[in-house]
């Protein structure tokens, strides 16, 4: 009988664990938001987070965007040539990069680079009692570690997305004009004329949302990590997985919000 019931017990345990985690995460987010409105504010930690999340992510974002833009131009050219509409390459590269690939790829790159590093750093601080030490030094760990990273990510990831969009479009431009025979001036004019304010706005809003998700996931899993090296590893892995899935889900929701007619 026990053998028969054990799968149900397992499902039950996992469901309860998932619900408990959702509850803990909701409280964590609510506490973070409430701390954002109350002093003290840690300006130095905020600036450090801005540099770590934004400035230091620029190389990986730039490389990702330029190769993606180039590949996108090749794909669109190949696909559109079947219908003899190769001239749409600038417009589709622009819309593809700004609306979707720019924010999503930057979000995923930030999840890989920043979420993992935040989770590993905070989890290590927890394992080595540095979080407890902060508390004993009259410093709220949530206010000191989470709030500066969260605000910095919300502000800086849209800028990263903007840079990624531009570099991605440039990647498409470089391939189209260097390899596919497009006229540079026409390519630029078509790109600029086609893009609308809503496209750029959606890109930046997605950037802010993805940045917030990436920072919160890193902080949450770091603060709730288990003991020892295994706990740190598990927290890092879970934070990146959760951030990536939530970024893709949020992307779908935001796209529906901005572009569903």
């Amino acid at each position: 009988m026990n053998m028969l019931l054990s799968p149900f017990a397992l499902i039950g345990r996992q469901t309860l664990a998932l619900l408990a985690m959702i509850g803990r995460f909701t409280i964590f987010v609510a506490q973070t938001l409430s701390h954002m409105a109350r002093p003290p504010f840690y300006g130095r930690e905020f600036l450090t987070a801005m540099v770590n999340i934004g400035w230091l992510s620029l190389p990986v974002v730039g490389m990702t965007a330029i190769f993606t833009g180039g590949a996108l131009a090749l794909q669109i050219y190949d696909g559109s040539s079947r219908f003899s509409v190769e001239s749409v390459v600038p417009q589709i590269v622009a819309i593809g990069m700004v609306r979707e690939l720019g924010p999503v790829l930057v979000g995923l790159m930030v999840a890989a680079r920043v979420t993992s590093s935040i989770a590993a750093e905070i989890a290590t601080m927890k394992v080595t009692e540095q979080i407890d030490a902060l508390t004993t030094l009259s410093t709220d760990p949530l206010k000191y570690l989470v709030v500066p990273r969260f605000i910095a990510a919300i502000l800086v990831v849209p800028a990263l997305v903007g840079v990624g969009d531009i570099i991605g479009i440039y990647g498409g431009f470089a391939v189209a004009t260097g390899q596919l025979g497009f006229n540079p001036a026409t390519y630029i004019r078509n790109t600029v004329d086609f893009l609308q304010f809503n496209d750029v706005l959606s890109s930046l809003v997605k950037g802010a949302a993805f940045g917030g998700i990436a920072a919160l996931m890193g902080c949450y899993f770091g603060m709730h990590s288990g003991r020892g090296a295994q706990g740190v590893g598990q927290a890092t892995k879970s934070s990146v997985q959760a951030a990536a899935v939530l970024i893709l889900a949020a992307n779908f929701l935001l796209t529906s919000l901005f572009f569903s007619t």
């Binding site: 003290p40 840690y42 601080m125 080595t128 009692e129 540095q130 407890d132 030490a133 508390t135 004993t136 030094l137 009259s138 410093t139």
Partner: protein, 248 residues
């Protein structure tokens, strides 16, 4: 004075504290001893709010530790953690003067640095250590920096969590002497957790032994060897045979 009254704490099915009652008089040094996993650190952390007991009361100078302004309450404490718990991302002087660089005790940066260097000197470290990062220090130096941080804001109450663990006997002796000197000099109330009987004799005014979630024995350190308590005798002598099971 710190007073524990019938404090209980469990982690899942494991009952760690099962009615701890203990008094630590103001200005005295109490050392808590007991086997690994008996809840010594939990007891200490429960005073600071790092662990919340299920039942029981903890009073500090007659006031409930869980009530009132928690920041002001914590400002009265200093703590030396087992592994030092120094912040890797900042240099030693900022670790030591952490509390003096922010919050209600905030001082100008230069003054905070001077205080940090003075405290480092007090624990036997030279000013050139101030600009190093914790990862550049040996274990003994990290403990000293942790000690300097614990006393930087001149707290009324200092906690030491296994202050000599992982140190060679000479460095352990140095740390023990420093703790004793500092506690006497500052007139602070001290609560130390350790397994190290040499530390107990060097640091303690009073000793309490925690076993099976309760205080098994407590009294002045001078009476420890003649207590007649079989649990304490076994712990002091380090015998495998006795009422304390070797495999727990």
């Amino acid at each position: 004075m710190i007073s524990f009254q019938n404090v209980h704490k469990s982690f899942g099915p494991k009952k760690v504290l099962q009615g701890v009652t203990l008094e630590i008089a103001k200005g005295t040094s109490m050392v808590i001893i007991g086997g690994s996993g008996t809840g010594k650190s939990v007891l200490l952390k429960s005073v600071l709010g790092l662990v919340t007991p299920e039942t029981g009361t903890i009073l500090v100078d007659g006031k409930d530790a869980t009530m009132g302004d928690h920041d002001a309450f914590l400002a009265r404490f200093g703590m030396l953690f087992q592994g030092g718990a120094l912040f890797d991302s900042m240099p030693v002087w900022q670790n030591v003067s952490f509390r003096l660089l922010r919050g209600s005790l905030k001082r100008p940066k230069l003054e905070a640095r001077e205080i940090a260097i003075e405290k480092l000197r007090r624990v036997g470290l030279t000013p050139d250590v101030a600009d190093l990062f914790p990862s550049e220090l040996s274990g003994g130096m990290q403990k000293r920096v942790g000690l300097a941080r614990a006393i930087a804001a001149e707290p009324e109450i200092i906690f030491f969590d296994e202050p000599t663990t992982g140190l060679d006997p000479i460095m352990a002796g140095v740390i023990n002497d420093l703790i004793r000197e500092i506690v006497t000099e500052m007139g602070a109330t001290a609560m130390t957790i350790t397994h190290d009987m040499t530390s107990v004799r060097a640091i303690a005014d009073n000793v309490a032994m925690l076993h099976d979630g309760v205080i098994q024995w407590t009294g002045p350190v001078a009476q420890m060897d003649a207590s007649g308590d079989p649990y304490l005798d076994q712990f002091i002598s380090g015998r495998a045979e006795g009422p304390i099971e070797a495999v727990r």
